[in-house]
């Protein structure tokens, strides 16, 4: 951040726009060649199992003459003995320029399992999302290595082989979790995956909740994409949403189902979505007033002068000038 001192920056008019999360469901919009489905009825299994959820948000604060300003925050929420607790880390504001992006990116990567050689620093356009992703992986690693016998909820899927989710990174995270007898369950709110032309999250239709639909033997014919979890469609409460649920496929099937039933028995499921994960999302999300507060921090602590750049689209096209500024 020291490099930013005295620069002017352009705060974003719509601070609500978070970074695109590319890893929630990175499967291509295509039918899989799954061989079949199996409906599984679930029964809540209440015990004292701790449910832990992790979520990370990043947000763009504005632009400077040389780069961009963004902020990251991570949250871990866990339910232990009927009590929800949380740990919020951040917000951490960053000023990323062409000059320092490699340094910052290396800093984030040193805590991941990725090999440093051959590292490609993302462009300024993508670096915010990448940093958020690396921070989330770091939190997942911390939780996986420190918990024992817990249910660990991730926001997203267990699909690996993308820039954000290299196979070796996700595999090692899952392995660390397994060593601690933890079960990793990844929830995707939206999925582009289709089966026989239908969106998989629509497949449960009128089925009586709580239930799971197991999508068996999903394979992708080519490319680097690997599924490290078995894919399920979860519908936990009546009249509510279904979610794609990935469970570590290296966990025995019985243990997977037991993990699901423990989740039903030990966490509140509002609209069929785990409360711990919902709280993690709520506590990590940046509100508009926080964005203004962080912009103020950056302006005060680093002596930035606020400038408003003209919206070229608006200037050229008036009310027809839609889309992002610039």
């Amino acid at each position: 951040m020291r490099s930013v001192h005295g620069e002017r920056f352009q705060p974003y008019a719509n601070p609500y726009t978070p970074a695109e999360r590319s890893f929630e469901d990175p499967l291509p919009v295509a039918d899989s060649d799954a061989t079949g489905t199996q409906l599984i009825r679930l029964r809540p299994l209440p015990d004292e199992t701790t449910v832990t959820a992790i979520d990370v948000s990043s947000i763009r604060l504005g632009e400077t003459e040389t780069g961009l300003l963004c902020a990251i925050r991570g949250v871990i929420v866990w339910k232990e003995k009927g009590q929800y607790r949380y740990l919020r880390l951040g917000p951490f504001p960053f000023h990323i320029t062409e000059e320092n992006k490699r340094e910052i990116y290396s800093l984030f990567r040193q805590y991941s399992f990725e090999r440093p050689e051959g590292m490609m620093t993302p462009s300024l356009l993508n670096i915010q999302a990448r940093m958020g992703n690396l921070f989330e992986r770091w939190l997942q690693m911390c939780v996986s290595s420190s918990c024992r016998g817990d249910l660990i909820l991730w926001d997203g899927s267990l699909t690996a082989g993308t820039v954000d989710s290299p196979v070796n990174v996700v595999s090692q995270l899952l392995e660390i979790a397994r060593i601690g007898f933890n079960s990793v369950l990844a929830f995707s709110k939206v999925s582009r995956l289709r089966l026989h032309g239908h969106r998989i999250i629509d497949l449960l239709g009128e089925c009586q909740p709580p239930c799971l639909l197991e999508i068996e033997d999903v394979h992708f014919p080519s490319g680097p994409i690997r599924l490290l979890g078995d894919i399920y469609i979860a519908k936990f409460s009546r009249g509510s949403c279904s979610f794609r649920l990935d469970i570590d496929r290296r966990i025995p099937r019985e243990q997977r189902l037991e993990a699901m039933q423990k989740l039903l028995g030990n966490d509140v499921l509002h609209q069929g979505y785990p409360e711990t994960l919902r709280l993690a999302h709520i506590f990590s999300t940046f509100t508009a007033s926080e964005v203004i507060g962080i912009q103020r921090y950056v302006a005060q602590e680093w002596g930035l002068r606020m400038v408003t750049r003209p919206n070229v689209r608006r200037l050229l096209f008036g009310p027809f000038g839609k889309g992002p500024e610039g």
């Binding site: 607790r85 999300t285 509100t287 921090y297």
Partner: protein
């Protein structure tokens, strides 16, 4: 502080709690480029409409009850976020303009939103700019920055004033302060004291005589305030009969004849009047009507046939030529007798003014609706004012004073009201906008007064009324001692 918006006469200013601005404070919005400044008064303080605040509050409310946790915020960014969330929007009314260091009323321009400097205008500076203090200072009380609000006694001279507020907020205290301050400047003050609250003004709070002792004269009807019929003017007596005792017109005509008959025979006494009514050739009903009024006059104890027992107001006014107050103590006086006394006093005052025996008096009337007849309201704000009766009405029931009185009031000393109807009534005053009255007066603590009108050169100012070292408390009888 930053200018956010201006609509009509209202300016909205963004501010943070650390700037410690309160309702009633004055701000100067300076546009340095054009060397002009707007004087605006804060009439209300809102939370700024910060985007995302609802989400923030919802999130925090969840953490209050069911969630425990901590935040690792090494850069302490959250303090900045809290700062934003606590931002205030000051609702201000434009009161004037400063051009080249002088006060002006030209507020038809707009200061720069981006370049203007907004700061608190110290009360002392405002007072100097507006020339609120004058050659005859009256210190009303404390204002911000440890200074005092000093008004000019000239601002009360020839003016109609109203002191109003709910019970026990300090109205009577202020009117005593005003009365004594006027006495200090050599003015003649008459107080229609409904509850005997002003009778001890000549004593300090410890019971010892104070500097006003010789200047305060308490006149109690029936005791040291009595008069003979001979001293009375027929017109005053007829006013008493008409307005206080509701004598019908026919009977009044007979009374006039009787009065003239007795005056010609130099027998204008209570006994003479009684005998004359008894022997007067007239309708029996008229005689009965006259007799019942005669007995009312007799029973009031206000009239006497012994000249030595009678007092003349002229005599008292002579005693306070260098400044003083006549307190007409109406405590424990019946409604009818109270009206008789007030009719007499006001009639006598007019008589003295007409004869140029008196220059002017400051009349303080507490809860005037309890003894002032309907037609006097008009008289007081129009005719009597020209004669030299400058009235200050003191009431905790603002709706008992007519709207036209508010409209013509030159100064209003407003204490706290919580009832919106009361505030609505007071807000009809012409010297200030309704919003100022409603928004500021509603939050005034006891003994704080919003001064409106000429006394403060139309810059409404909130003051904490200063204490007086006089025995001021009304003697309310209590069950539990």
């Amino acid at each position: 502080m930053r200018v956010y918006r201006k609509e009509g006469n209202t300016v909205q200013i963004l501010c943070f709690p650390s700037e410690s601005v309160e309702k009633g404070d004055y701000l100067l919005i300076e546009d340095l480029k054009i060397d002009r400044g707007l004087i605006a008064q804060v009439i209300d303080v809102h939370f700024a409409n910060v985007p995302g605040i609802l989400e923030e509050l919802l999130r925090d409310s969840a953490s209050d009850e069911e969630l425990f946790g901590e935040s690792f915020d090494p850069l302490e960014v959250s303090s900045h976020v809290n700062h934003i969330q606590d931002a205030w929007m000051l609702i201000c009314k434009i009161r004037g303009c400063v051009e080249n260091g002088k006060l002006s009323v030209n507020t038809s321009w707009l200061p720069s939103r981006s370049q203007s400097k907004v700061g608190k205008l110290p009360m002392a500076s405002l007072s100097t700019l507006a020339k609120i203090d004058g050659t005859l200072p009256i210190s009303l009380g404390e204002i911000k920055e440890s200074s005092h609000l000093i008004i000019d006694a000239h601002a009360l001279d020839g003016r109609l004033n109203i002191v109003t507020g709910k019970k026990e907020t300090g109205k009577s205290h202020l009117s005593k302060l005003l009365a004594l301050s006027l006495v200090d400047h050599g003015a003649t003050v008459v107080v229609l004291d409904l509850n005997g609250e002003y009778t001890n003004l000549g004593f300090s709070s410890n019971g010892e005589e104070n500097k006003y002792r010789s200047k305060i004269h308490v006149l109690t009807p029936g005791a040291n305030l009595r008069t003979t019929l001979f001293q009375m003017d027929l017109r005053v007596m007829l006013n008493i009969l008409f307005h206080a005792l509701n004598l019908p017109g026919t009977s009044a005509r007979e009374f006039r004849r009787i009065w003239q008959f007795l005056r010609e025979r130099h027998n204008l006494t209570l006994d003479g009047l009684g005998e004359a009514i008894k022997d007067w050739k007239c309708n029996q009903q008229v005689r009965d009507a006259l007799f019942s009024r005669y007995h009312s006059l007799l029973n009031s104890g206000f009239f006497t046939d012994i000249p030595a027992e009678a007092t003349t107001l002229e005599e008292f006014f002579d005693r306070i030529q260098e400044g003083g107050a006549l307190i007409i103590n109406l405590r424990d006086v019946s409604v009818v007798d109270r009206q008789i006394v007030v009719e007499y006093t006001l009639g006598k005052l007019l008589e003295l003014f007409t004869r140029w025996k008196l220059r002017a008096v400051f009349l303080f009337a507490e809860e005037a609706h309890l003894y002032l007849r309907e037609t006097y309201w008009e008289d007081i704000v129009t005719r009597m004012r020209h004669f030299g009766v400058f009235t200050t009405f003191v009431t905790n029931q603002p709706d008992t004073i007519r709207e036209n009185i508010y409209r013509q009031a030159d100064n209003i000393f407003l204490f706290n009201f919580t009832n919106e109807r009361d505030l609505e009534t007071v807000s009809r005053a012409a010297r200030v906008d309704a919003e100022t009255v409603k928004l500021i007066a509603q939050n005034l603590p006891p003994h704080y007064c919003l001064v409106l009108g000429k006394a403060v050169k139309d810059f409404p100012i909130v003051t904490r009324v200063r204490a007086l070292d006089v025995k001021t408390m009304g003697q309310t009888r209590l069950f539990f001692q």
